[in-house]
Structure formats: C-alpha cells, structure tokens
C-alpha cells in the first residue's frame, strides 16, 4: 500500500487534490446513502416515513416498526433457517475445499490435471443453466422444500477448491518432506503439518460462503415453497408484497435486521472477504 502511495503521489492529476477528494466523498455518500436512509426510516413512524426532505435523525425515534416485523413475520424462524443454511454450507465448503485443494496441491495421483480442469470449468457454468435438472434430482430425493436441499448441493465449491489449492501451493514444500523423512505418512503430514497452517485460507472460503449464501435468493425461491422453510431474503420480499402494500418502516426494519450479520462479517472479516474477492474474480 505504501508503495502505491509513493507511486501515485507522483502522478499529477488534472483535478486539484481537494476536488478529487470531494468527488470521492460525494460518491461515498451516494453509495452509503440508501443504507443510512434505510436505517433511519426504519426508526420513524409510518406517518413520517415518506417525509421529504428525509430526516436522517428521526424527530421521534420509535421501535414500533421492529415490533411490527416480529408481528408479521416469524423472524426467529427465518433467522434460524438462514443461520442453519449459511453456517452448514460455510463449514461444508471449508471441509470439501480444504481437502480437495490439498489433494490438488500436494498429492500425486492419476488424472490430476483433467480432474482439476473439470473443477475449473464448472466455475464458468451459471447456476441458472443447471437449475431445472438440479431441481428434478432434488425432487427425486424428496429434498425439495427442505433446508437440506439448499445445503447439500452447495457443498462442492470450484472456486473454494481453486483458492485452497493456491493456498497450499504457497506453503513451503520442505515442511512436508521433513515430516515424511521423520516417518509421517501422507495423512499425518496433512493432519499435523499443513492443516494447522490452512486457517487463514479457510477463513476466506468461509467468509465468502457466508456472504453469498446469507444473501442468496434464487435457489431458496425455487426450492422452498412452504413459508416455514423460508430464509430471511424470501421473508423480506414477501413482507413488501407484490403491490408494495407492506408498511415502509416495517419492511425496512426487516431489511435492517437481516443486514446485521452481513455487516458484522464485513466489519470482522473485511480482509479475508476482500482477499477472496480480488484473488480471482468470484462468480457470485
């Protein structure tokens, strides 16, 4: 970063620095504005909700909207469903990607190259192209309208496997060779030498999985037909209603509630998240 600072401080811009920073500030406001508006409107009474100019600090802050969300939606159930789905997928992906990534990076076996090419190729395949057959496969296993039907197909992760392979390749080879010389078998070498070093890489896989699946909409929309299996995004869209008849403050209070875990991960896991996103170009 400091290197970049010196690089670009030497670049002369057409704009004065203060104008450039002011421009950036306006863009940051436009980016965060909708989020600020959402939070502040969720704290207003429905009558005040559409006041223009919008009051950033509500004149008469009220938590009524939040009570309204709990009245109209089974928030706890939705949150439980979302948490279950997201957590199990994140853990599942960390396991499958960690194991497969290690195999591709550090083990020798037949068909290694074609198998890795297969994994990479599936990164290109959009979910929507395979959705009908996947739905039928799940139906034949009676997994439609279950949370398990949402969880299991998300376990294999081509991108996570690729990321973990790179991660294990980045570790010094001597470590494993030393362990082998000391008589450790392949499993011991993995278990006691490499696996303990993999935590930061696994964190990237986990945080990306969390971010993607907490917010996921398309697969739940198709799979979950009964409302007791809804995840938070499905519940929120149903709260607004097709004609937008839901009360604004209540809908926005729901949005704020569903944002909390994502924001928490943004604050705590910003680094792994950023590294994950930049490391190749995630197919979201």
């Amino acid at each position: 970063m400091s290197q970049a600072t010196t690089t670009f401080s030497r670049v002369r811009y057409g704009l004065a620095p203060w104008a450039r920073i002011a421009g950036l500030a306006v863009c940051a406001l436009l980016t965060l504005g909708p989020v600020v508006w959402t939070v502040s409107t969720s704290l207003r009474t429905p009558a005040e909700a559409f006041d223009l100019p919008p009051r950033i600090i509500p004149a008469d802050p009220s938590a009524d909207a939040y009570r309204g969300v709990f009245d109209q939606l089974d928030v706890w159930l939705l949150a439980l469903n979302s948490t279950l789905v997201t957590a199990l997928i994140a853990v599942g992906q960390m396991i499958t990607a960690g194991l497969a990534g290690y195999a591709f990076a550090r083990l020798e076996f037949r068909f290694k190259k074609p198998l890795f090419a297969l994994v990479l190729a599936t990164m290109m395949v959009p979910l929507q192209v395979t959705v009908v057959p996947v739905f039928l496969v799940l139906k034949s296993m009676s997994l439609t309208d279950t949370l398990l039907g949402l969880i299991v197909p998300a376990f294999p992760t081509a991108f996570g496997t690729f990321l973990m392979r790179q991660y294990f390749l980045g570790m010094p080879k001597d470590l494993g060779e030393a362990a082998m010389l000391d008589g450790a078998g392949p499993w011991r070498t993995f278990r006691s030498v490499y696996a303990p070093l993999a935590a930061p890489g696994l964190a990237i896989v986990g945080v990306l999985a969390f971010n993607y699946h907490w917010n996921e909409f398309f697969r739940p929309l198709i799979l979950e037909t009964s409302s007791q299996n809804y995840t938070l995004p499905l519940g929120l869209v149903s709260l607004q209603g097709n004609l937008g008849t839901g009360s604004v403050s209540v809908v926005l209070a729901g949005v704020v509630l569903s944002m909390i875990p994502a924001v928490a991960v943004f604050v705590v896991g910003q680094r792994p998240l950023r590294e994950g996103i930049t490391s190749a170009g995630v197919n979201r």
Binding site: T38, V125, P126, P133, N215, G244, Q270
Partner: protein
C-alpha cells in the same frame, strides 16, 4: 496407516513375474498407495458433488430441452420443437434483447465508475481516508441483492421517492423510474451497478498496486502527465485486470435476476424481463421444463460465445508485463 500397507507392497515383489520385465514397473512404495488412497478420499466430496450437481445437470439440460414435459404427464420426445417454440416466442426473444442491452450498459457503467474511483482513491490522501473510501465502495457487496432492491423500490418511487425529490431540488421533473418502459431498464441498471461496482473497484485497486513505480517515474521523465499518462501508461498496464473485470462482469450481468424480479417483476410490459426471469417463470410457474431447459441451454451458449469473443479480442488489447 503405513504399517498396514507394508505387507501389501511386498506381495507383488515376491510373486514371480513371467510376462513383464521385472524392472519395467517397480511396485509402488507403501507411501504412494497411501497417497493415492488419501487423494481419493479428499477429492471424493468435491468431484462427486460437481458431477451430480453440475456436470450431469448440464447433460440433463440438453436432454430435457429435447423433450416436452410438465412433470404431471410422462415426458415425450419433441426433437427441436422446444427450440422452435422458444425462437417463435416474442417474450423469450425480448428477454434476450433486454439481457444484452442490460449487460452492455451495466458492465460499461460498472467498469467506468470503478476505474475512475480506483484511480482517484490511489491519488495522494491520508491513509485513513483512503481506507474509509475503500470500505464504503465495497460495502454494498455484502448486502443481499433482493433486500437492496426492496429498499430501492421505495427510493425510486415516482411520487414520494427520495431520488425524484433530489432531482426536484435541481429543477428536474419527476421521472417515472419504475413505471415507464424506457426508464425501468435504466433503473434496473442503476440499482445493479450501485451494488456491483465495488467488485470491479477492488480488482482495479489491486491491479493498480501491482504496477511497478519505475514505469510511472519513467513516464514522468518523458514528460507524460495527467490524463495523457493514464491513457498511454496506466491503462495498458491495467489491461489484464480490465479483462478479468469485464469477463466476470459480463458473466454476472447475463444472469441478472433479483433486481428486475423485485423492482419491476419484468414490467412494465416485458421491458425489464431478463432471460433468467423467463427460465424461472417457464419452469417453476408454468411447469414447462423442456422449454425452460432450452432457454437455459441458449443462455449457456450465449455466455460461452461472449466469453470466447472477449478472449479473442483481448489478444489485441491486453498487455502482459
């Protein structure tokens, strides 16, 4: 683990060999066997999962697209009839046109905004300020596209939305953002770009950091300044990043669903109906699985074609250091 395999490897060595020359294929040491067993176990979940949930479904999509099937009756072979129907269906054709129009505007805007902001953020400023900007631009990425669209539906409301109020301050008449055919697509693009530009932004920031500073110094010595320097020095050096950002941006844009589904539900008319919306409606609302698969296969072909075209064009424009 190795202990149990030692006897195994001794067996082939002890057995008299008649046909093959003894030294040609040495028996694998115990460790190699253990390695292969471990590799099989480690790969099984990923490979089986990918085969069951991606590879076979692709084949399944192609096969299904040749059948007529509504789940209730048993499927009947239809040959290319589904494709014929799809190509004759005005809604499907419009959805492909909409998706392409959306892709062009969304990706162009996303890359332009992201590149401008990445260059600006890399200019001279306090470190804390830079990280504030960086976090701000990246923040929308962690939110759900569905709930953001719910929020935006209020902000873009013609009569009481904040967007029209802001425009009113500078004397612009209220725009029917969600209710007129022309404006609706623009709204979907804006909402999508608002959430997605942070992704390209992060890629560009990373790419700019990788440009060696000697190159800029050399350019400055040669008298290049400002915009001129960006056009002739920074952009070519950034071109590999631009390629990644545009390839991923295009693949993602061709799959747009949440924003039009929540904001406009494809309307007014069919003006914002996208290909993925058509797949969803055909398969899961009308239960026409054959036709839906045919549309899916066409989308796949389109994505492959556009990506291949990009890599072809990129040979001329992308410079690797």
């Amino acid at each position: 683990m190795t202990d149990t395999q030692v006897p195994d490897t001794q067996v082939p060595a002890a057995r008299p060999r008649s046909a093959a020359p003894p030294a040609a294929v040495p028996p694998p040491p115990a460790r190699d066997r253990g390695t292969r067993l471990l590799a099989t176990l480690f790969l099984a979940p990923t490979i089986v999962g990918i085969v069951v949930f991606t590879v076979l479904p692709i084949v399944g999509s192609v096969v299904l697209s040749l059948f007529r099937w509504d789940v209730i009756d048993s499927p009947s072979f239809a040959g290319a009839a589904n494709y014929g129907e799809v190509f004759g269906d005005e809604t499907v054709l419009v959805s492909f046109r909409n998706t392409l129009v959306f892709m062009v505007f969304a990706v162009a805007l996303q890359l332009l905004i992201a590149l401008t902001l990445a260059l600006a953020v890399n200019g001279r400023m306090p470190v804390w300020l830079r990280s504030v900007f960086r976090s701000a631009f990246f923040f929308p990425l962690v939110l759900s596209a569905a709930s953001i669209s719910v929020v935006m539906k209020y902000l873009f409301n013609q009569d009481f939305g904040v967007v029209n109020w802001l425009l009113g301050l500078v004397g612009i008449a209220p725009v029917p953002w969600l209710t007129s055919e022309n404006a609706a697509m623009a709204t979907v693009v804006l909402v999508y770009v608002w959430q997605q530009f942070g992704f390209s932004f992060l890629l560009f920031v990373g790419g700019l950091n990788n440009i060696p500073k000697e190159i800029h110094e050399a350019a400055s010595l040669d008298g290049a300044t400002g915009l001129r320097k960006h056009l002739s020095v920074t952009l070519p050096l950034l071109s590999p990043t631009l390629l990644v950002a545009s390839v991923v941006g295009i693949i993602n844009a061709l799959q747009v669903f949440e924003q039009p589904y929540v904001l406009t539900n494809g309307g007014p008319g069919d003006s914002t109906r996208t290909v993925v919306m058509v797949i969803y409606e055909t398969a899961f609302e009308q239960l026409r699985f054959g036709e839906a698969s045919a549309v899916g296969v066409l989308l796949f072909v389109l994505i492959m074609a556009v990506t291949a075209l990009q890599f072809r064009l990129s040979r001329r424009f992308v410079h690797y250091q």
